[in-house]
Amino acid sequence: MIELYANAVVSGLLLGGFYAAVTLGIAIAFGMLDVVNIAHPAFVILGSYVAYICNARFGLDPILVGLLVLPLFYYLGQAIYQISYLSFERKGSDSLRGLAFFFGLLFVTEVLLILVFGVDYRYVEAWYIGPTLRLGPIDLPLRMLVPCVLSLVLFALLQLFLSRTFTGRAIAAVSQDPTALRLLAINPVRIKRIGFGLSIATAALAGAFLIIIQPVEPSVGREYIGRIFAICVLGGMGSLPGTLIGALLLGVVESLTTTYFGPSWSPAVGFGLLLATLAFRPAGLLGR
């Protein structure tokens, strides 16, 4: 019995590590840049499909593909931010339009993927997908372990970038005080563009991780909307360490729910957590 729960907690932590990678983009876009990119899960799914195509056609490793397309996703993100800036932010129009715009993107991406690939589940093949590492009674499937470890690496790298480099600090500061940035001769729009590019770039890797962990079909992304925003809010907006804690917490709670009540209930966990956070501690765990 204890073994069962120990395993559930461990697999929850592994899952949480992966959730952290998916939430990373939102933590930057929503938490730091104040761009409510609800289309983020759609870009993650897009990353999954890119990994799938390259894996099925050329036999490339999905993670390698994720790394290779990072620049493409980065420029895609920059382009999207530019459109959003020119059409909404610059005019100072209400958030309603920005939200509707990203919702449209979410929807169009999903429908395009359905049109091209259909609604069948797709999966990738790689050496680490089958085997499982056993530490005494605890199972560590490599399929979960590899994405989790790499997510943590990605997390650490971004945290270093955001706290140590000039551009990184500017990204973390831009939505708090754009005028101060201007006074330092930094163009806030350029900083936001870079930040948003980074945010979408993380989706390429997160997508590759996702399709390693589970088979993917276009509407899978919808389940992640509740999850990633729950994590982001739970951890505290704009705080990467908080995001990581939130992600691990959600992973464990979901995994325990799955063990207790069955997998069909797990999508509700994220939402429950989100509502509870909003109701009781809207600033999040490590919020300012």
Binding site: V36, I38, I83, S87, S93, D94, S95, L96, R97, L99, A100, F101, F103, G104, L105, F107, V108, E110, V111, L112, I114, L115, S219, R222, E223, I225, G226, F229, A230, V233, S264, W265, P267, A268, G270, F271, G272, L274, L275, L278, A279, P282
Partner: protein, 355 residues
């Protein structure tokens, strides 16, 4: 910024003289004419597709009461719609499962033509209460959180329904639609169509009534600058809660007769993303500032989709709706109504310059 254009709009003056009861009467008249025209054509398919278009008119109008008037975006329209649909399935299942016991007997004794309007009212109450609850939890924070919560609401409600065997679970549930309806030519489907037409009249009258009442001015104040509204003494939280409740209730009512229409309700069809996207796209395309916008948008986009589902494919037409939404959001943020107003204003200005 739009209020300035509205003042200079000549058509507005005429419109302002029509009171709400008069408007309701006029709308009913138009609805009756519309129905008579369809009945004269006598093609049953028109009721089937017309029902869907009208349902979207209600959805779009309901969305706009919160989204357009208050500026709070609801992404969970599908959830409210499905809530209405599933409240009907739930009551229907009680009627069939417990046909021998007291409650079942009472439900079984009510003939379907009487039952459906009751179900619509019931769905309105349920969905309105959920809207109120959602609003109470999230509306005290920034508007974005409300939007995100509504987005996640669909996923959670779908999870609940999939796990709830009594309403069919993931398999779905049958709701038997009687074929006959003696009072109207066209059978029961024509009856559902007429009910939806009535709901459209109610929704439009309500939306227009709100627009020109104190409530509506409060909503506009919230949309334009919530802090300033709060400072000026507008009870913002209470008004927002009224808006979410009314909007949610109308969406639930739009969904209530859907199980009878479709005959076999699956979670995937009730929670379809097309409701969420259409409920946003239609007001955005039509224009979010007045009740006319959602009506125009829903009639255009709704009829287009009815035509395109048959001739092209249902996935491709959803793609088109999504692209149209993005296009309008970027290029014509005030929708078709905004474009027309702009054009009229320019014409008036031109006349003023060269008499």
């Amino acid at each position: 910024m739009t209020s300035a254009t509205a003042v200079e709009n000549p058509g507005r003056k005429v419109q302002a003289q029509i009171g709400t009861p008069m408007f309701a009467a006029l709308a009913t008249g138009v609805a009756v004419l519309f129905y008579v025209a369809l009945a004269l054509i006598g093609n049953e398919y028109l009721y089937f597709s017309g029902y869907v278009v009208l349902q979207f008119v209600v959805m779009a109008t309901a969305w706009n009461i919160l989204g357009g008037y208050c500026g709070y975006v609801n992404f969970g329209s599908a959830a409210f719609f499905a809530m209405g649909a599933y409240s009907t399935v739930c009551i229907y299942s009680i009627g069939t499962e417990y046909a021998r016991s007291g409650v079942g007997k009472i439900l079984g004794a009510i003939p379907p033509p009487v039952l459906v309007p009751l179900l619509i009212a019931f769905a309105g109450i349920i969905a309105g209460l959920v809207g109120l609850g959602m609003g109470y939890l999230t509306l005290r924070l920034r508007g974005v959180f409300f939007s995100i919560a509504t987005l996640a609401l669909s996923v959670v409600l779908q999870t609940l329904v999939v796990n709830w065997d009594f309403v069919g679970g993931s398999r779905g549930a049958y709701v038997i639609r009687p074929n006959e309806f003696p009072l109207l030519p066209g059978g029961f489907i024509a009856y559902l169509f007429v009910l939806m037409l009535l709901l459209v009249v109610v929704a439009l009258t309500l939306a227009r009534g709100i627009e020109r009442s104190r409530l509506g001015f409060g909503f506009t104040a919230i949309r334009d600058d919530e802090l300033a509204a709060e400072a000026a003494g507008v009870p913002t939280l209470r008004l927002k809660l009224i808006a979410t409740t009314v909007s949610g209730a109308l969406m639930g009512m739009a969904g209530a007769s859907f199980p009878y229409y479709i005959g076999y309700l699956q979670p995937n069809s009730a929670f379809g993303l097309e409701y969420a996207v259409n409920a946003i796209a239609m007001p955005m395309v039509g224009g979010t500032q007045s009740w006319v916008g959602p009506l125009v948008g829903a009639l255009l986009l709704g009829s287009f989709q009815q035509w395109a589902t048959v001739t092209i494919s249902s996935v491709l037409n959803l793609l088109i709706v999504g692209l149209v939404l993005i296009f309008f959001v970027i290029v014509a943020p005030n929708g078709i109504v905004g474009l027309v107003r702009e054009w009229r204003r320019k014409r008036v200005l031109r006349k003023a310059v060269r008499p």
